[in-house]
Symmetry: C2
Subunit: 720 residues, 2 copies
């Protein structure tokens, strides 16, 4: 009987989720990669974010960031299973700020927030419901924390006060004390994961950016898009025919607007919402000919879809046993965790699209709304819960569709409406229907904390001014897209700004070497190409802001210190050297916070300031962009399409400011995965000051036998 | 080994929450009271809504409604445990509408909604977060469903479509079909309860109102307030002293405004937010004298509090071991499920308040916001989870505070900001800070579906018009309250409407016999005193609306049918006979939907219509109120304070319309619980038409030895 009772005890403890406080003390942290630690609390789910993503860490690249000590006091971290859920606690210091928790649209500082991380279309409030509610946060103290659960996680990001806290808030009398607050001080991030256990990861710095880089590299590094993915893209009206689409591409060419890929909306399918994934023979009589004809014009085809299978789809009967208990608009929901479902589902995509040359997808409606998607009561044949599926469906479609292209040694670059932790490496950009320009920029700021890409797409505008302002932002983003499926807007639709829009689109193309290298650094080194000011070294390098007493910090006595203490959500860093400060409709001037150091106007090379807040009045035709002292920006000759593999282009290398500078320029064939076999080069660009005081630039030769895109190089020292 | 494996199987099935589809078929329904059935799915939580409320069903009253068959096809109901949660499904027919799911503020029709029932301050959207997110719904087909779980329940109220449904929605092509909808037809209410089992109750009709009555009686029937609770109440500024409060009461008396109880706000306590529950000796030097002095003026005292214990409270050290892991504004959160915590906590209330004559409480902040209350990661010493505590804290404070008064054989009537299923019988009215007049009326409409009371309180107003319009609504509600703690507004603050406000306040007092009888019917028979038009017999009695084809129903061809198909949320039934149609600021006229039958103006007795939509222009001084044909409204002489036990008042009995009528007038001592021992009378009022065509009224004598409040009776046949 002893033996029996032992077995019973084991069973109760290990399977029932009633292990109260089993792990309350002594979490064991194991370093699983350089500067990356993991712990396990309770009995985690079989299925989680990292399993859904299924990506290998870039261990060598992590090692290059360097070894580091565990960045937090271990004894201040707690994890325990209570009532079948897992409670986690991480300490916060006074003055510490935290960033992240996914693709937020209105806030950058997350300390004080209460969130419920839930994949959904963004609903206008930073409450955790967003397209990529990544359970990862970064501290201004230089570390990151990731919770690997495909669950709706409740987050109290410095918003809960324990009765036994060693740093309790002060008790105040609301009757008479003006300093009473409804949100007292909290010294911890607490989370509740609705599962009887969870894996947690901690990422070392030393800087916040290093912690992000480690997170990204641990998840395979950022995606390296094909070069054409960084060109210009337009999406056409949902009922366009093959002929209308080709005419549209021709119009771009004739009018001199760049176009690298064109997106078809639902009407390319014979039925949509739910989908057949098959071409509508009325609008597209010969899809292969259509795709090839566009290809001949230098324009790739991207296809909209959602993953819900229409009863009329040819795969419907076959996939039915591998679909959910509930439908989405009567469409079957494939259980994409099941190999059989994957085979049936993606075979339709291979046969109908990829094999005839389609370049990628826009995968819609994998995020929300609740009233669209399967309910949380739904079941899936694999046993993965509706909640887990909701949290990971975006990851699954990204991973699995990427595989179709990888198998053909062709890169893809597409759009998706949901992602999550673990999804860093997928070549997809998130978009949505929210369309508030200011908040789109804040999303761009936050994307860099979340290991995702985001496009502030232009759809339609009420005025030429708005159209131009939106296009200016689009050009300084991961995907330069007009998403005109509904409005039918063309880049030239507002004649009064058509030339200015064209100039911006061409600037985007000229800057392709800079963007491409920025993405290579995302891929190989983990540095997000678009990111918050808070990650910029000079932004808070001088800790004057943090160390000044409250009374010393105000806009009059110390405007810069005050500015960086506040949430900065309307300007961002793009690539290594650029600071972008978009203008919004109705603005003629704006304030720009220039970090410590010296900054120069991108267009003129003129010195504009440093460690200060400036007010700029750039005119309608310009988006304010500034370059760090010593900044090097490689640009190419203006072209309407990205260089193809093997094509050579002339190059202008710009230098800004007074400091010498160095830059690493990335090159490969721009189209295949051969870079994974080492077929790429980093070319060293150096700008030095000669003994005569003049600047001189040099660039290392391309390695023999390696791709070499760049022909003649001219130098442009922008600051005299 | 056979025996061991059997035990293991049992353990896995019974304790692990992995019992997939264990109860998918064949739920067993047990009739637990007349017309009330219960089933158990899986292994329900130990702690639930009904355990928190702890109220005995009124079985005899239920029996009077009558026996009934189980009102749904049993085979269409499903319940199963999946992934540790419980999924429930109930069928919906075409054309069926559902109501309820708690205190919603903007909608009455709940079919199509997705809700997450979560106790919270109302956030401006009917998404399940509200003060009383009662998991109970009523069908237009005449039955009710209640889920007895103290959990955040996900509700898909006809918003999810199963792939194996026998009534599936039609598949449509969004590309070309204009009838495509993002919300396809759903034939079921589905719910997901985050617990490995749950108790579910079904209530028979035959009418929707009968189902509600059964629900209310099963939960002990509605509360019977003291008579004074139905009088007028004012809440004074938070820092008022004893002297200022007494002066305020005197001002009411002098100016001729009724006042039955006066509410003190946080400043009566020595510290608040968190609270000491002790009098501030500066503002209230002699609390007992203060309370007794007001009592001598006919005015009772109500005390604001929240339940969070300040470190300065004398009970702090003693209660600390019985409080939560987390604080609310640094206050300890008593685990009110624990007898020891209850003893310590409520002893402070008895000693400091109830024993010196305080009449009741306004219990604040037991609802939300998330940023105020304990986080969901908090633990409580009883082991009840933070979620369960959040869902039931409003029930606990109502139940336990009521007990203090019951032990002294004195009724109370107070305010609370949270309730839930099971809370029908508690003498508390819900209020909040949302303050949108239109939505306050919709809450009044919905309160009748949820077994709760709601006050559309007046706080402040921008104009005299708004003040008067709000006061008019307040008078036709469960609690006639001015909540002026912040604004300091008095009933007479707008001189231009001061007389009209006074007239309304006096009307409230005159109607006390009608209100008191309506509450008695709530208590003894389960009929909500304030309720939706949808529960009124004549509203959809003629099923023309439901049976007309869509094309026949529009505002031109059949305006009444069209009106009752729509959501009616700005008019309601009050007591047996009154239809109230409030006016909102800026309106000079409004539409009123008069159910089938004949309806008469409350003020003049004139016929206004029936089975039609009328437009009325009542003038500023009147709130539109209509009386059903044969309606009898007992009124008393105008008084500034409710009659005390034993006091006799003159009475006017009004009759409206042409039909004879009957009415049951309730009477008891108005103050104690002696009615529970049978010390009450129902007096029969009959209006007959004599042979000469004239109406004649009669009232049965009060039973000997029973309370008898009514003296001289005069008759008023309003319609000639």
């Amino acid at each position: 009987m002893m033996r029996l009772s032992k077995i019973l005890t084991f069973l109760i403890v290990s399977c029932c989720g009633i292990v109260t406080a089993a792990n309350a003390q002594g979490l064991n942290w194991t370093e699983v990669a350089p500067g990356v630690w993991k712990t396990v609390v309770g009995n985690p789910d079989e299925y989680d974010l990292l399993k859904a993503a299924g990506v290998a860490p870039k261990v060598e690249a992590l090692a290059k960031i360097g070894q580091a000590a565990f960045p937090l006091p271990e004894s201040d971290i707690a994890g325990q299973v209570q009532g079948g859920k897992t409670a986690l606690r991480f300490p916060l210091e006074r003055g510490e700020q935290i960033y992240g928790f996914g693709l937020n649209f209105q806030s950058v500082h997350q300390r004080g927030k209460i969130l419920r991380l839930h994949v959904d279309h963004y609903g206008g409030e930073d409450n955790g419901r967003t397209h990529a509610p990544v359970p990862f946060y970064v501290s201004s103290n230089g570390y990151g924390v990731f919770v690997n659960a495909a669950r709706y996680i409740d987050v109290y990001a410095g918003a809960a006060a324990r009765i036994d806290s060693e740093n309790p808030p002060e008790a105040r009398d609301r009757n008479t004390d003006e300093n009473w607050t409804s949100r007292p001080y909290s010294d911890a991030v607490e989370m509740l994961v609705p599962a009887a256990g969870v894996e947690v990861y901690v990422f070392a710095g030393p800087t916040p950016l290093d912690a992000i880089r480690r997170y990204n590299l641990f998840n395979g590094g950022g995606p390296l898009p094909p070069r054409w993915g960084l060109g210009f893209t337009q999406r056409v009206h949902k009922l366009y025919t093959a002929e209308q689409t080709i005419a549209e591409a021709k119009a771009f060419e004739e009018k001199g607007y760049p176009l690298d890929f064109i997106g078809l909306e639902p009407g390319w399918q014979s039925k949509a919402y739910p989908c057949t994934f098959e071409w509508d023979k009325g609008r597209f009589a010969d899809p292969e000919k259509f795709v090839q004809e566009l290809k001949g014009m230098g324009v790739k085809v991207n296809l909209w879809t959602n993953p819900y299978v229409a009863p009329e789809a040819s795969i419907y009967d076959e996939i039915l046993p591998y679909t959910a208990s509930h439908t989405v608009w009567v469409g079957a929901v494939p259980d994409l965790t099941m190999p059989k479902a994957q085979d049936i589902f993606w075979s339709a995509f291979e046969e109908n699209h990829v094999d005839i040359g389609v370049s990628g997808y826009k995968i819609d409606e994998v995020d929300g709304y609740d009233r669209y998607l399967w309910p949380d009561v739904a079941t899936f044949p694999s046993g993965v819960s509706a909640e887990q599926m909701r949290q990971t469906y975006g990851l699954l479609v990204q991973k699995q569709s990427t595989r179709l292209f990888r198998e053909r040694n062709t890169r893809t670059y597409g759009l998706v409406r949901a992602s999550n932790g673990g999804g860093t490496s997928f070549p997809y950009v998130i978009y949505n229907d929210y369309y508030k320009h200011e908040d789109f920029i804040t999303a761009l700021v936050n994307s860099g904390f979340a290991g995702v890409l985001w496009t502030p797409e232009a759809r339609a505008s009420k005025t030429g001014e708005e159209w131009l302002r939106r296009m200016q932002s689009v050009v300084f983003s991961p995907m330069a897209m007009i998403n005109a499926w509904s409005s039918g807007t063309k880049p030239w639709s507002f004649p009064e700004v058509a030339e200015e829009v064209k100039a911006m689109a061409i600037l985007r193309m000229q800057m392709m070497p800079y963007w491409y290298s920025a993405f290579a650094k995302y891929h190989f080194e983990g540095t997000p190409p678009f990111r918050a000011m808070n990650l910029e070294e000079g932004f808070t390098q001088d800790q004057s802001a943090a160390t000044l007493a409250d009374s010393q910090v105000n806009l009059e006595t110390n405007p810069y210190a005050e500015a960086v203490r506040r949430e900065v959500k309307d300007q961002y860093m793009a690539g290594e050297y650029l600071l972008v400060a978009p203008m919004f409709t109705g603005q003629t001037s704006r304030k720009v916070i220039l970090p410590q150091g010296r900054w120069y106007d991108f267009y003129t090379g003129e010195f504009v300031g440093g460690g200060e807040v400036i007010t700029v009045t750039p005119g309608l035709e310009k988006i304010p962009v500034y370059v760090k002292d010593g900044g090097i920006i490689p640009m190419m000759a203006p072209m309407l399409h990205a260089p193809k593999a093997g094509e050579k282009v002339a190059m202008e290398i710009r230098h800004y400011g007074e400091k010498p500078g160095t830059y690493r320029l990335y090159d490969d064939d721009g189209e295949t995965f051969d870079y994974e076999k080492g077929e790429y080069t980093w070319r060293e660009v150096v700008v030095e000051r000669r003994s005569n005081g003049k600047l001189r630039g040099s660039i290392s030769k391309a390695e023999r036998g390696m791709p070499n895109t760049f022909g003649k190089v001219s130098w442009n020292f922008m600051t005299n």
